[in-house]
Symmetry: C2
């Protein structure tokens, strides 16, 4: 069964909200801000269609905004700050993971909580420090949807797993997750995929290098282009080959869900915080929960 | 000193949010919904300008939405429900007013709390019943900005006062306010102004008639057209004459603030709940408070 994440009416003003957010991060020039807003509205009036995938519409509007701003990374400072906040929480994450009966599952929970850090959307954080404020409380919440045991069954037989990262900040916890995956399944080949270009607050190859992912994964690839989630028309032959034969795809975050929902790839385990109603509804799970959901 | 409420970037997606909200109230037809969203985005891409008044841009986009929907009152049911909820709270309002040391001030506070009931915007209520849930708590909050004593000085010398209403629901409490005004200042001529046509959840002449405002005011006028707040190009000669010579203008709600901020009319007492940052910032007072603010 395929659940395609088509754009909803709610996505329209959420996307416009985020475009305005990044415009204000990028420039104080009122004329330039106005130009971006007018162009984004103009493009939405042309390409909005309830039959389109939310991620592909979002990619096109963000691309227009970045080009108009002449800024290839409006979220740069916010991304660095998110990484620093997450780094400061690593000792706490390590303590939780080490003291857990199920370190791998706990590392997934922490990586999902890291996914709360997301900017310019209603269900995300207003500032990077927010993660610090809510981390303990959210660990106690645990998983609102829990397919871990099903995922574990697949991991036990897997010889190759691929993990698609999402935002900066949470990428720091993703490293702990990758380490625990390799600790539990040392013979499983682990591929990491980050975004091919800076887009919103998502992690790129620079983040993967800065955090030494080469120590914990067997291979690092990128999505090969500027896209919300993944543009499957633009991925490398190597990534396409991985996706065709891999035993399990692990996707962090909503954008990867949006993009993969258009494809037949499986099995996919989504590890995310459901930060908006359209995604929660599409996945058939509650909003504002920590979720591991497997599509087999 | 004039504070003109120009449209902000935040107003753009708030307006689009409200357009989508009323579209979904009006129709389940996905094609029609899509047409309204595309047209609204298209108009915003053309007319958005940081030099324009927020109310006049909002009026044009709502007009396009209503025309495209072929619906002259998408909020009809919600307005009726709001009036019914407010009516059920009248005994509580009367008790508060009658037991108060300052019945007129208490009637203003209740009328301001009624202004919380507003739909399709982030700081407003999600459903009419919400007013019932928060009424008691919000009465205890009292006024976060209080120019009542300054307003009282003007009322004592006033021979003519005009009150511009805002939403349905709160209109029921506005009647108590009007009655208290006439009780305290029986020789003062009181003009009521409602919207000239149904627009969002605002009260019209039908509401003023249904609630028997003729019992408590000396004259009932309308803004004479379809407009967020007031379109001063379209008002009647009578209303223009009133505004030119009246001793005090009392305005309920944010839309009247937006519209009057473009004019030189004064003195104006704004009685409102600051439901959004752009209005709160423009007025120089905190967001999410009950406020009486006088511009002399």
């Amino acid at each position: 069964m395929v659940f395609i994440m088509k754009i909803t009416t709610e996505c329209v003003y959420c996307l416009l909200n985020r475009i305005i957010y990044e415009t204000e991060l990028s420039t104080k020039d009122v004329e330039l801000r106005t130009e971006v807003i007018k162009k984004a509205c103009g493009m939405l009036s042309e390409i909005y269609s309830p039959d389109e995938c939310s991620a592909s519409i979002a990619t096109r509007v963000h691309k227009l905004a970045y080009e108009t701003l002449g800024d290839n990374d409006p979220y740069k400072e916010l991304k660095d700050e998110s990484n620093n906040i997450a780094k400061s929480l690593v000792p706490l994450v390590e303590e939780l993971v080490n003291n857990s009966d199920n370190p791998l599952k706990m590392s997934m929970i922490c990586a999902i909580i890291g996914n709360m850090m997301d900017f310019g959307i209603a269900g995300g954080s207003s500032h990077p420090g927010m993660l610090k404020e809510v981390f303990g409380k959210t660990v106690k919440e645990g998983l609102g949807y829990d397919d871990f045991s099903k995922v574990e069954v697949l991991l036990k037989k897997a010889s190759h797993v691929v993990l698609f990262t999402d935002n900066c900040g949470e990428i720091v916890f993703d490293k702990v997750l990758c380490r625990e995956l390799k600790k539990a399944y040392p013979n499983c080949f682990l591929t990491l995929v980050v975004r091919g270009a800076p887009i919103i607050s998502d992690a790129t190859i620079e983040d993967a290098r800065a955090f030494g992912f080469d120590e914990v994964v067997d291979e690092i690839l990128t999505t090969n282009c500027f896209a919300i989630g993944v543009d499957f028309n633009s991925i490398s032959d190597r990534l396409r080959a991985v996706l065709d034969k891999v035993d399990l795809i692990i996707c962090k975050g909503m954008a990867n869900y949006e993009a993969f929902s258009e494809t037949d790839y499986k099995p996919i385990a989504y590890l995310l915080r459901t930060k908006c109603a359209p995604i929660a509804n599409s996945m058939g799970i509650p909003q504002d929960i920590n979720a591991i959901k497997l599509y087999e």
